[in-house]
């Protein structure tokens, strides 16, 4: 190992030996499961029936590329349950996407799906330090959203105690943290930051709580947010990833080496594609993640296009897991803004804000087309530490943000400094883009 080799931030534990399969074993398992998946759904799911799928040409996991993509639009066309691959009476649970981009989409789970899902959540929770002696406060919504119930049964599978606090009501969350002394927090990363802000406002020292680490997911976040969460709450913060269409949380999560999120690829085949050409991109290159669910019974999907942009990494991880890893989600193909013909992702604005020392990642990109030309304003919340009584320094702050954005995106954007806590947040999720051109 070299001096720069990643170091573990906590004890390294592995939940299931299957996370350490050799490359050959994994490939055989995936290919076998892929053939059985196609046999199971080829005649049962109308959308896939139309493609007349055959399993005998699928010899390796890479042969998944012979199969058609499935998109969110396809799911909507089959609303509400056209993709169901088992009889209604065998369904044990329904969940749904949040519906922030239109009508919700529903997903379904069989008994075995629920078992498997709890197990996948247990894997990433254990990878990120959870032990049976811990108490976990779950500040995710319990409802159609997969976050609450997914993590709940995962924690239960590990054997740790659960405080099902659900989302919102920050004062009560703090009361529970103080009085029941959970060591682990489960929430969205932006909610963790909000919690830290409220603790500070109320003069409550994070050291007076028992919190040791947090498992955060449900929305894209950044390394800067991780540093701020860890510093302000005095915890270790772990990232996990999932989406309801694929299963919910449990698709991937970080281990104690934090070298990316380990994808549970005994259950999912992952691909990373160029969203325009649909061709695979090399490992290390950003692309759209595509998942095939190998084992799900109730709601299996072939090559589901997530619209999440990330990077894949198949290099070995010191933790001993042999799975493919994915980076943080750095953007969404549908968040992609086309400004005067240039592709711009909110993550680029975030990167620019991080470059300018002392600016918080709370921002809103507003796009207008007053005449024929697109005009972009980035509203940035001013943090107390960035505020100066000198006009010259405030103007300089605006200029530095503007320069950083221009150097990353190549576009001049107007910078509007706004008071803290004035930009909208939806159920803990920050709104990043307001495009006025289409309305």
């Amino acid at each position: 190992m070299t001096a720069s080799a990643p170091q573990p931030v906590a004890d390294n534990r592995i939940w299931d030996p299957i996370e350490r399969l050799s490359a050959g074993e994994r490939s055989d398992l995936q290919a076998d499961r892929l053939r059985r998946l196609v046999e199971r759904i080829a005649d049962r799911v109308p959308f896939y029936k139309s493609f007349k799928l055959r399993s005998d040409s699928l010899r390796t996991p890479d042969d998944v590329r012979r199969l058609p993509f499935t998109t969110k639009a396809d799911l909507r066309m089959q609303y509400p349950l056209g993709f169901l691959a088992i009889p209604r009476e065998s369904v044990l649970r329904y969940h749904g996407s949040s519906g922030t981009t239109g009508k919700p989409t529903f997903v379904a789970y069989s008994k075995r799906d629920l078992e498997m899902w709890a197990d996948l959540c247990a894997r990433f929770l254990v990878a990120g330090g959870l032990q049976p002696r811990h108490t976990v406060q779950i500040a995710f919504g319990y409802g159609l959203f997969t976050g609450g119930f997914g993590l709940h049964y995962g924690v239960e599978r590990v054997g740790a105690a659960i405080i099902p606090a659900a989302s919102g009501n920050t004062e009560r969350q703090i009361l529970l943290l103080q009085d029941l002394q959970a060591e682990v927090l489960v929430s969205t990363p932006s909610y963790a930051l909000h919690l830290a802000e409220v603790l500070e406002q109320n003069g409550i020292a994070p050291g007076s709580l028992a919190l040791k680490f947090g498992h955060f997911g449900g929305e894209p976040w950044t390394e800067d947010m991780r540093r701020r969460i860890e510093a302000s709450l005095g915890i270790l913060a772990f990232n996990n990833y999932g989406l309801s269409e694929v299963i919910g949380p449990g698709v991937s999560g970080e281990c104690v080496y934090r070298t990316g999120m380990h994808i549970q690829d005994d259950h999912f085949i992952v691909e990373c594609i160029n969203p325009e050409t649909l061709e695979p991109v090399p490992d290390g290159t950003p692309g759209e993640l595509v998942f095939t669910t190998l084992t799900k019974e109730a709601f299996p999907l072939i090559r589901y296009r997530t619209r999440d942009i990330a990077v894949l990494d198949r290099s070995p991880c010191p933790c001993g897991r042999t799975t493919t890893r994915m980076s943080r989600v750095t953007g969404r193909t549908d968040d992609m803004l086309i400004i005067r013909g240039v592709n711009v992702f909110p993550s680029q604005i975030e990167e620019a804000l991080l470059r300018v020392e002392g600016t918080a990642p709370h921002y809103l990109i507003e796009v207008d087309r007053p005449g024929t030309l697109d005009e972009v304003t980035v509203h940035v919340e001013v943090r107390p530490g960035d505020f100066s009584d000198k006009m010259r320094e405030m103007q300089l702050l605006r200029e530095r943000i503007g320069h950083a954005i221009h150097s990353i995106t190549g576009i001049h954007m107007r910078i509007d400094l706004v008071a803290p806590q004035t930009l909208e947040r939806f159920a803990g999720k920050a709104k990043r883009v307001q495009d006025n051109r289409r309305t």
Binding site: Q201, V382, R383, P384, F387, S388, D389, K390, M391, R392, M394, Q395, R398, I415, D416, L417, V418, A419, P420, Q421, T422
Partner: protein, 149 residues
């Protein structure tokens, strides 16, 4: 010898300034004087408040971004040439003025000049050495009380 000044980030939208004033009023806090620097996008409100500590606390509780800065208050004759004399001394000593503003209390013929220097201690030395009266907080707020009597 220095005076505490509160600075607030001001969004350029209706009601932001009055929200600050309402917050102070509801806590019976009086503003001795204020100055406003603004651009098209945002503004900076600077205030001299006797109960600056309480004012900062209640404003921060309301979510305003408040900054505390030390400024220098000098007293001059409220007549032509009063301010020019002070500026001349500052200019000769090559001290940079970040910004300044002036006000008078209701009674008397004295004006108060408030200066923001990068190095207030050096500036105070220069001013007092040249016979300019630099007010400490007790003197400044005593003049406010005098005018009310």
């Amino acid at each position: 010898m220095k005076i505490q000044q509160l600075s607030l980030f001001l969004e350029n939208k209706p009601g932001h300034l009055s929200a600050i004033c309402r917050t102070l009023a509801s806590h019976q806090i009086n503003i001795s004087t204020l100055s406003l620097a603004d651009t098209q996008q945002f503004g900076i409100l600077r205030m001299i408040v006797r109960e600056w500590d309480k004012a900062r606390k209640v404003l921060e509780e309301k979510g305003f971004v408040v900054n505390l800065t030390e400024v220098v208050a000098t007293e001059v004759e409220d007549q032509p040439g009063g301010m020019a004399r002070v500026l001349e001394i500052i200019e000769k000593s090559a001290t940079n003025i970040e910004y300044m503003y002036a006000f008078t209390f209701r009674k008397g013929n004295r004006a108060i000049l408030v200066f923001r220097f990068d190095n207030p201690d050096a500036a105070i030395k220069t001013l007092t050495a040249n016979g300019i009266n630099v007010l400490d907080p007790v003197e400044l707020y005593a003049r406010e009380t005098d005018t009310r009597a």
